[in-house]
């Protein structure tokens, strides 16, 4: 079992909600797969597509962008902008043939520790069967 593929997931978590949600999961000792490399961003609206593509280039098998539910955004409309931008990035990545499961977005509020662990579990389970991401990864 040891050499089973363990996907590496880079998660961009909005500081006000999702990052707090993941902290809540940690504080309440919830069990969830350790494949996540969390990066806190000030708002999902500040997510530049470049971060996502750069993560895939550096070898991420999956990328998650998680922000506040619509209406909860600390900056009022950051997550609304993010919703459009991430939808476009997702469509473009599918257009060039990247597996759609590799790039996810979620709303996780500061109180949704369990939802956060649930999303990560599902994400890891979806990534395991499709193996490591070799398409955008920098090889030579």
């Amino acid at each position: 079992m040891a050499d089973e593929f363990e996907p590496k997931i880079v998660a961009f978590l909005c500081k006000w909600c999702s990052s707090a949600g993941s902290d809540l999961a940690g504080v309440s000792r919830m069990q969830y797969p350790p494949n996540v490399i969390p990066i806190t961003v000030m708002c999902s609206g500040s997510m530049s597509p470049l971060y996502i593509l750069s993560a895939f280039k550096k070898g991420a098998d999956g990328v998650l962008v998680s922000g506040c539910h619509p209406g909860d955004c600390h900056y009022i409309k950051g997550n609304y902008y993010a919703r459009r931008r991430i939808a476009l990035v997702k469509k473009l990545l599918e257009f060039i043939g990247l597996e759609p499961q590799r790039f996810q977005m979620s709303w996780v509020s500061a109180a949704e520790g369990t939802k956060y662990t649930q999303i990560i579990k599902e994400f890891v389970d979806e990534l395991k069967p499709i193996g490591p991401q070799t398409k955008l990864r920098r090889s030579s």
Partner: protein, 343 residues
């Protein structure tokens, strides 16, 4: 039919009255069919202006250069610049106005309608002529082109040699202009996104194989970026050092410029460059097709932008470059924007 004489007359009048600094148009080149951009300063030179199906370039790019030059001059001549624009090019002017990059009084728009046809695709024409050299091409009656190839006149239905984007054209006459030549012909292409759908219909692995083979050819000459009127950032993600640098910019700031994309034409670097460029043009690209025409390796980079134009239409019902007052795609939102993909 658009009369070239009328265009010349308009241009001459503008120059004589000194209402414009210079006029950007098309003029005959010395090597073959394709014209070259003309910068006409004095009235008698308007004779050099031409208008025919080979006038493909999107001249809006030179409004960006004009602005950069003005910023550097101490006492700039602030008169507007005259520019000859087709339907698609005019939408590029609209996007520049929408983004407040230029002001309406900076530009005097000489609009020219393509009416029922459009501009020629060099490759399709070359195939059609099977090696014969085309010296001249002209509009002829409603929807034909006449090509003179060493004094032999060949009439070809325009539909067969039109540029890809003209087959999917959504504005055959300028949406914004100070002077408009030619009739306004409404154009509703039945399949506005046919070229994109061809790729979408492939399987995931086929799409990946297609893009991998195409983008591996890229030699990073950045012609697709340089020819695009919307790519006007002072500093681009691909530039190795920071440009907006003055004598007292702190060393830390220069040292911390992140190298997002390496200079070497490695497959993943090429992908990140082309995808970031496409995303930065989402809701801004008006499909003038210049990036694909300029690419020396014939990489279909236009399709990346066209895909996002299709998504902008389908997901957010957003039309690019028709209304200078409308907010741009990614700096606006609606409550009913789709979120089914969000967990």
């Amino acid at each position: 039919m658009v009369s070239l004489e009328e265009l010349k007359k308009e241009a001459q009048m503008l120059l004589e009255e000194g209402k414009v600094k210079y006029i950007v148009g098309y003029e005959r080149s010395t090597n073959g069919l394709m014209p070259v951009p003309a910068f006409i300063k004095n009235p008698e030179d308007v004779e050099r202006l031409v208008w025919d199906p080979s006038c493909i370039y999107n001249l809006t790019r030179f409004l960006v250069d004009e602005k950069r030059r003005k910023e550097k001059e101490k006492k700039p001549d602030t008169r507007p610049v005259g520019i000859v624009v087709k339907g698609c090019d005019s939408r590029a002017v609209v996007v520049l106005l929408q983004e407040k990059f230029i002001n309406r009084e900076d530009v005097f728009i000489l609009g020219v309608s393509c009416e029922n046809t459009g501009v020629v695709d060099e490759k399709k024409l070359a195939e059609k002529l099977k090696g014969k050299k085309a010296d001249k091409i002209e509009f002829s009656d409603k929807d034909h082109f006449v090509i003179t190839s060493n004094s032999e006149k060949i009439k070809i239905p325009a539909q067969e040699i039109l540029a890809e984007r003209c087959l999917e054209c959504r504005a055959s006459f300028p949406v914004i202009s100070d002077v408009l030549l030619g009739e306004k012909v409404e154009r509703r292409p039945d399949e506005p996104f046919k070229s994109v759908q061809k790729i979408e219909s492939l399987s995931k692995e086929e799409r990946w194989a297609f893009w991998k083979e195409q983008l591996d050819k890229c030699i990073r000459c950045y012609a697709c970026r340089s020819v695009c009127p919307m790519c006007y950032c002072d500093e681009c993600v691909v530039d190795t050092i920071s440009f907006a640098v003055t004598a007292d910019t702190a060393a830390e700031e220069k040292a911390q410029k992140i190298k997002w994309i390496e200079k070497s034409p490695d497959s993943s670097e090429n992908f990140v460059y082309h995808l970031v460029r496409a995303i930065h043009l989402a809701g801004r690209c008006i499909d003038c097709g210049e990036c694909e025409r300029a690419c020396p390796l014939d990489i279909p980079v236009r399709l990346l932008n066209k895909k996002l134009e299709k998504e902008a239409k389908e997901l957010f019902d957003y039309d690019v470059g028709f209304d200078p007052e409308k907010p741009s795609l990614v700096s606006s939102f609606k409550d009913e924007d789709p979120e089914d993909f969000i967990r």
